[in-house]
């Protein structure tokens, strides 16, 4: 008889889905997440495509399903340290890092006001700063502050503790190891953006007004660093002409040898952010192929209908800064027109691809691009982007499938 519990590694949209789906049919699930909040990459998005609704809508519904369900246990700031055993009876060691803030937290912000230390905000890709003690983001689940002890400059500082009226901050918290027993495991470890600095011809890091697509999501989000206003980084100027450079490092044997599946739709979606915010703005999307399969073609047709959006076949291969104005000069060959074009734009968005977060683990099998195939032993599965590059919709469908597979594994063993 197997242990009737499923471990789900990764608390993004795929992991949450798998956990909720399995729990709602009567199986115990343990959801483990390294961040101090659930929601993963989806939590960072401004809008979903193609419906252009806010992702938090979907996430909130899932949080609402997690909260009252006694079968779901959530660990944040937790990593899987070791897995041993076999299908039906795995022993997993979890390492839980201290949050220094307990469940008494009411998210009143008094601690952050008292905190003297500022640090770069990773949630917004360093585009703004937070205090050492901060709320990961406005809508986070669990709704609880977190203290980044590594950036505290004075280890004896307890200003946050003094400021907290609820006795919610505990600087004596220590890392803990938790051992759990599970029947099957689902890896929903997701992805990280490809490092745009690696493309030495695309200027990221040296040309100030070159950002990535994920930075654009944060910039356009109402809870982002600019409160949703799309402003270029060098001088906070409103952007009147923006170019999207597709396949920035994707489908490229020197970088990511595969298509990340979402960047075309993401850029077309982001083009609407700009067009909505600035009615007189112009957008150029420079692509190799526009991959908008199935019903996404309708979305592409809508975008094509906007005369201020130009879709140009030809990959951007050179990006330079105009030193006087901070404008960005982009060179590409317009393949259909048969000539090189030099576009001068306010800002460039690099459509960077997805890199699997976990691409090394002795207990797992990986495919050629580093995505997880499955565990080396039975009863271990992968889902979402951990398994293959995919959009939110397909990830959710896949996660439901993974929930069923893991249940079958429990029943089988």
């Amino acid at each position: 008889m197997s242990v009737e519990t499923i471990l789900i590694v990764g608390g993004g949209i795929s992991g949450i889905t798998a956990a909720v789906e399995a729990a709602e049919v009567g199986y115990n699930t343990i959801l483990v997440e390294t961040n101090p909040y659930l929601g993963g990459r989806v939590a960072q998005l401004n809008k979903y495509f193609p419906k252009l609704c806010p992702p938090y809508c979907g996430l909130e519904m899932n949080f609402r399903r997690i909260k009252p369900n006694p079968r779901i246990t959530v660990y944040t700031m937790t990593e899987v340290e070791n897995v041993s055993g076999q299908e039906g009876d795995y022993t997993v060691k979890l390492k839980v890092s201290p949050r220094y803030v307990n469940e008494k937290c009411t998210a009143c912000n008094a601690c952050a006001e008292a905190c003297p230390v500022e640090t770069s905000n990773d949630f917004n890709f360093g585009m703004d700063r937070t205090k050492a003690i901060h709320l990961p983001h406005e809508m986070c689940y669990p709704m609880r502050y977190v203290l980044d002890r590594d950036v505290c400059t004075d280890s004896s500082c307890d200003k946050c503790v003094q400021a907290c009226k609820y006795d919610a901050i505990d600087l004596s918290m220590k890392p803990e190891t938790v051992e759990i027993n599970v029947g099957s495991i689902v890896y929903a470890t997701g992805w990280k953006p490809y490092e745009a600095e690696k493309m030495d011809n695309l200027g990221f890091g040296s040309v100030k007004n070159v950002i990535t697509n994920m930075m654009m999501e944060r910039m356009a989000s109402p809870n982002g660093p600019t409160k949703g206003r799309i402003l270029r980084p060098s001088d906070n100027k409103e952007v009147k002409k923006v170019l999207f450079a597709q396949c920035a490092g994707s489908r490229d044997e020197n970088h990511l040898n595969y298509c990340s599946a979402i960047c075309c739709m993401a850029s077309l979606k982001q083009a609407t952010y700009i067009r909505e915010q600035y009615p007189d703005s112009k957008v150029v999307v420079s692509y190799i192929d526009l991959r908008t399969p199935g019903k996404y073609e309708d979305f592409l047709n809508r975008i094509e209908g906007d005369e201020n959006i130009t879709l140009m076949k030809g990959k951007v291969a050179k990006i330079e800064e105009d030193p006087g104005t901070g404008d960005v000069i982009v060179t590409a060959e317009d393949v259909e027109g048969g000539e090189k074009i030099y576009e001068k734009v306010d800002m460039v968005v690099l459509a960077t691809g997805m890199v699997p977060s976990v691409s090394e683990d002795a207990s797992l099998n990986f495919e050629e691009n580093g995505f997880i195939l499955a565990g080396k032993s039975p009863g271990v599965y992968s889902t979402g982007v951990a398994k293959r590059p995919s959009d939110v919709t397909s990830s959710i469908q896949d996660a439901t499938g993974a929930a069923l597979k893991s249940i079958q594994s429990l029943v089988r063993s």
Partner: protein
């Protein structure tokens, strides 16, 4: 649609390109990164992206008319940034070889000299020819006494072989090039805007300074190697012309004695002046030969060197690089053995030298060396079209 363009892929041409080493071309997915990173590509109708699709589709008729493939100096910036490993640099190099063969007159010579598989036949022709000439004239054998090459293979015989054959090669080359020029003219809707002569002079200046070659980012060192070979060849051509002038105009049989009364009389009784001229001549010839050798060696070293980008040198290129090196090496060695008085080996090396010189000169319209004319003509033409990049 009112206008219909019908492309007829030449599958045989595609196969030939792939066999010659351009097998990566099918990987190209037309992203046009290459056209942008190329430092030599013009803004209007840039290359090599369009040539890649033409090659994939087997549009031989279009490619033989292309001047652009000759603007490429094979620096491989394109291959470095190519996201698919399609190696546009290598593909264009093979396209150039195909164009040389395509324009070759007579065609079968293009096949013999253009296909590296035929190298042994190509070398056997001069060997057989020389042996027949030597046998018929009763010179087959190693002469006694001091090593004097003209005792072994009289200069007059050499000239009687080389002068008419070279003239023939020049004629064939002229026909090939006139075909090429006609193809270039029929290539596109673009019409020349500038006159021939100024464009030609501009091109020569550019070639002398290697200005285009030095624009390459990925492989600047190749410009140095090429320059050495280039000036080595020019130096040796001058040397040859000098010797011919001495022999046929002044009637000084090489090696002419500096104390020959006629020569001394020519310089107002001074033995020193002809001696100095002779020494200068020798030094000049040797410097040219060393440049050729050093350049040839560097060309090969550069091709073998890891350049951060994997490129394939076609056999066609290797044969030519090897031949350049062999001409230089056998020439130098023959001279060395002659001075050291190693008769047999000196004569044999000299014989080999003549074989390789034959290869270089007689096959000039069909070998890689033909590029010096094709490229000059194509660059001149692009300058007439005014579609060249700023230097």
């Amino acid at each position: 649609m009112a206008d219909k363009t019908v492309f007829t892929p030449d599958m045989k041409f595609v196969r030939e390109l792939r066999e010659a080493g351009a097998d990566t071309m099918k990987k190209c997915y037309q992203c046009a990164t290459c056209s942008v990173v190329c430092p030599l590509s013009p803004d209007d109708k840039p290359f090599p992206r369009k040539e890649m699709v033409m090659a994939q589709w087997g549009l031989k008729d279009e490619l033989v008319k292309s001047a652009d493939i000759w603007l490429c100096h094979n620096c491989n910036d394109c291959s470095k940034y190519c996201p698919r490993g399609a190696k546009p640099g290598d593909v264009l190099s093979i396209l150039r070889k195909s164009v040389i063969q395509e324009n070759a007159f007579p065609k079968f010579m293009g096949k013999i000299a253009g296909d590296p598989k035929n190298i042994w036949q190509a070398l056997a022709i001069p060997v057989v020819l020389y042996i027949i000439v030597l046998a018929v004239t009763g010179h087959l054998g190693i002469p006694e006494g001091e090593v004097v090459f003209s005792k072994f293979f009289p200069v007059h015989y050499i000239d009687q072989i080389f002068v008419p054959l070279s003239a023939l090669a020049v004629l064939m080359f002229a026909i090939s090039i006139s075909r090429f020029w006609k193809n270039l003219g029929g290539s596109s809707e673009m019409k020349p805007k500038a006159a021939f002569l100024p464009s030609f002079i501009e091109t020569l200046k550019e070639i002398m300074t290697h200005a285009k070659f030095r624009k390459c980012d990925e492989s600047k060192d190749r410009a140095v190697a090429h320059m050495l070979v280039f000036y080595g060849f020019i130096g040796l051509a001058i040397t040859t012309a000098w010797a011919v002038f001495n022999l046929y105009v002044l009637q000084w049989e090489s090696p002419y004695p500096a104390n020959d009364p006629d020569i001394v009389a020519l310089f107002g009784g001074s033995e020193t002046v002809p001696m100095i001229i002779r020494v200068v001549f020798k030094i000049f010839a040797n410097i040219s030969a060393v440049a050729l050798l050093a350049g040839g060696g560097l060309v090969i070293a550069n091709r073998l060197k890891e350049r951060g980008v994997e490129t394939v040198t076609s056999t066609f290129d290797w044969v030519f690089a090897g031949m350049v090196l062999l001409v230089g090496a056998t020439g130098m060695l023959a001279q060395m053995f002659r001075v050291l008085d190693f008769a047999t080996i000196a004569y044999l090396t000299y014989f080999m030298h003549l074989v390789f010189v034959f290869y270089i000169i007689i096959y000039i319209p069909y070998s890689k060396l033909a590029h010096f004319v094709y490229r000059t003509v194509a660059i001149t033409y692009t300058k007439m079209l005014q579609r060249d990049v700023e230097m």
